[in-house]
């Protein structure tokens, strides 16, 4: 399956308006040493799906993520993934933000992400996001001023059912609304149901992903995705 946001090769403008605040937030995060924590994750996934669409043409993808958690809830990190998007073979996501505990079981999380696909700049975008997360449920809204040449809002909801210490069922629903993007439909919905098994430093996951996206040239609207992740 192939995810294709655009039918031409127009190179879109990088959203400079978000790049500076993101870099500033990253710098703030990395400058706070007290109780800091670096963590990482290496993942092999049978199909890299982001918001329901495949970025790897239904093929496996290798990913590495690094996260820095500083004091005061500041955090930042980066993800690199192998993809197949026209000429792009690598996808990079940088992100930074702050998570503040509003109560013993509620966290307010806000930040920014910058997605880059070297070799296929038309897929790049930057977003601001804010969300609330409890122990099991969470909701987040992401806004982009330059998403495929238009403006976008992505609302997502998440719920986790823990089945003991090691097994969990996760449900996710997302709705993407786009305005002003010439090659995208105005709305797209995605669903995801996943079962995860945590084994010490490893996490195994099997997920069903479905997407309602008539604008994308997708062979299948849904897929089963398996992944194995090693935390470090």
């Amino acid at each position: 399956m192939r995810m294709c946001l655009y039918r031409d090769r127009k190179r879109w403008r990088t959203p400079l308006s978000l790049r500076r605040p993101l870099l500033l937030a990253l710098a703030c995060t990395l400058s706070l040493p007290a109780r800091a924590e670096w963590s990482g994750q290496a993942t092999l996934v049978s199909d890299y799906r982001l918001r329901g669409l495949s970025y790897s043409e239904d093929r496996p993808s290798a990913q590495v993520r690094l996260t820095y958690d500083g004091a005061g809830g500041w955090y930042g990190g980066a993800l690199a993934a192998s993809v197949r998007q026209d000429d792009a073979r690598t996808l990079l996501i940088a992100y930074a933000g702050r998570a503040i505990a509003l109560s013993a079981d509620m966290v307010l999380d806000a930040g920014a992400t910058l997605l880059r696909t070297p070799g296929a700049a038309q897929y790049q975008y930057a977003e601001l996001y804010a969300g609330l997360a409890g122990e099991r449920a969470g909701a987040r809204l992401s806004l982009s001023p330059d998403y495929a040449g238009g403006r976008s809002a992505y609302a997502e909801f998440h719920y986790t059912w823990p089945l003991g210490d090691r097994v969990a069922i996760d449900a996710h629903a997302g709705l993407l609304a786009v305005r002003g993007a010439p090659y995208l439909h105005r709305r797209r919905r995605d669903l995801r149901l996943a079962a995860s098994l945590a084994l010490e430093a490893w996490t195994l996951q099997l997920a069903w992903v479905g997407v309602d996206s008539p604008s994308a040239r997708v062979a299948r609207g849904s897929a089963l995705v398996a992944s194995v992740a090693r935390h470090f």
Binding site: A34, E37, Q63, V107, D109
Partner: protein, 427 residues
């Protein structure tokens, strides 16, 4: 012609049973994520273990998939690595961990394989900037008097039969953090909705103290209908029972996360930072924490002294500044379908927890901690200066009048209501 036997139901059932058995074996092979090393023959030796708290960052955005988004668990390997490095650097071994998101900490147990943890180790680890705090593993004990004490006249009745005509505490979830409860006792059918054992290395058979406490606050024989979350954090040792900071911390964390409305702590011991933080987290959520006071200590001992905790003494031995409830020669269930007269502030605390459950049914939407302020007492305390702060947290401390309390909540008289509670809760 021989008829072929259909596989259903016998063969199919056997196959299903085999599959189920295999699945259970597989699940059983997966040890609990936070399992601790078993104790040695001398039991839980607190001096050999310390608790190291590492910062647990709040859950936040992750870009690589939705399931790894808010339930952020990718840092656990990094924290474990830090704890293992700290253990190695100080000649200790990593014995396990227990994340407590409600406090924003991941609690690691480090133990010495060669006797007590050497002096100065706690201070040295505490200086590490990656560490939130370090503390010793402290010991606690339950507050039941010697059962061989001479029998005294039974405590004044709370008119339970009449009170249960008004309310039974139906559906109120009470966490009993204690020894193991005998869930099959005739007094407790259907009362225990959840049992968890937080004590490693000690088998979870039914034990006396927990069964008596659970029975007093939720006995079905008295028509009570409160729901008990039996959280075993203490284990029987001789005539009494003991617990430690970690087992109590795990149980308190569990009670908070699982939505208990009342937590009963019929035990005492030294002040402890982990438990203090968890008590604060419970109180902030409006959970009523009821603790028994230690009659041997002038201030009643921890956790009864913690601000916001309802400190309860046996009304026969009550000292100013605490709630008083029946605590001497109280008939209580014991394991093995037995009943016995028991004494001690442990059981007085169970009475107040049970009363709060009754009140909670009448006002199910109320914050249970605020509801506790409606408890009517029949005497006024003028505490000495040292106890003034504790009293400020519970201004209506005195001997509890259960009838007047429920009459106040329900707006009608249920039993021997010779007078009604005056403004401020005293009469």
């Amino acid at each position: 012609m021989k008829r072929r036997t259909a596989p259903w139901p016998g063969q199919l059932w056997r196959r299903l049973r085999s599959l189920l058995g295999a699945a259970l074996l597989l699940l059983g092979a997966l040890a609990p994520a936070h399992a601790m090393a078993p104790d040695d023959e001398d039991g839980r030796d607190s001096a050999r273990r310390i608790l190291v708290m590492l910062h647990l960052p709040p859950a936040h955005f992750q870009p690589d998939g939705y399931a790894a988004g808010y339930p952020n668990d990718s840092g656990r390997a990094a924290r474990r690595r830090i704890a293992a490095a700290l253990a190695q650097a100080h000649g200790l071994a990593l014995a396990g961990n227990w994340p407590m998101p409600a406090l924003g900490i991941d609690c690691f147990v480090l133990e010495s394989r060669a006797g007590a943890v050497p002096a100065g180790v706690i201070e040295r680890i505490a200086r590490d900037p990656r560490v939130e705090w370090v503390q010793p593993l402290q010991r606690y004990h339950t507050l039941a008097a010697d059962p061989l004490l001479a029998t005294q006249p039974a405590a004044a009745s709370w008119h339970l039969a009449e009170l249960h005509g008004l309310t039974t505490g139906r559906s109120t979830l009470v966490a009993v953090i204690d020894t193991a409860v005998d869930t099959h006792h005739p007094d407790l059918p259907g009362a225990v909705v959840l049992s968890e054992n937080f004590v490693d290395g000690h088998a979870a058979s039914a034990e006396a103290h927990g069964t008596a406490v659970a029975g007093l606050l939720a006995a079905r024989a008295g028509a009570g209908r409160a729901l008990v979350m039996a959280l075993r954090a203490c284990w029987q040792r001789g005539a009494g029972a003991v617990c430690d900071s970690l087992t109590l911390g795990k149980a308190l964390n569990f009670a908070i996360v699982r939505g208990a409305r009342i937590v009963n702590l019929s035990l005492t011991g030294p002040p402890d930072r982990l438990l203090q933080r968890l008590l604060d987290a419970a109180i902030v959520r409006g959970i009523a924490v009821v603790a028994a006071t230690d009659p041997e200590l002038a201030d009643g001992g921890f956790p009864a002294t913690h601000p916001g905790v309802l400190a309860v003494s046996a009304q026969e031995d009550r000292t100013p500044g605490r709630y008083g409830a029946p605590g001497r020669d109280v008939p209580a269930p014991l394991p093995g379908e037995q009943w016995r007269l028991v004494s001690g502030s442990s059981y007085a605390a169970a009475h107040v927890s049970g009363l709060l459950a009754l009140m909670s049914e009448l006002r199910p939407s109320s914050n249970t901690l605020l509801l506790a302020r409606e408890i009517v007492v029949n005497s006024t305390d003028a505490p000495p200066g040292a106890q003034r702060a504790a009293l400020a947290a519970q201004p209506r401390a005195g001997v509890v009048d259960a009838c007047a309390t429920l009459a106040r909540i329900a707006g009608e008289c249920a039993c021997a209501c010779t007078a009604t509670g005056s403004a401020g809760g005293r009469r």
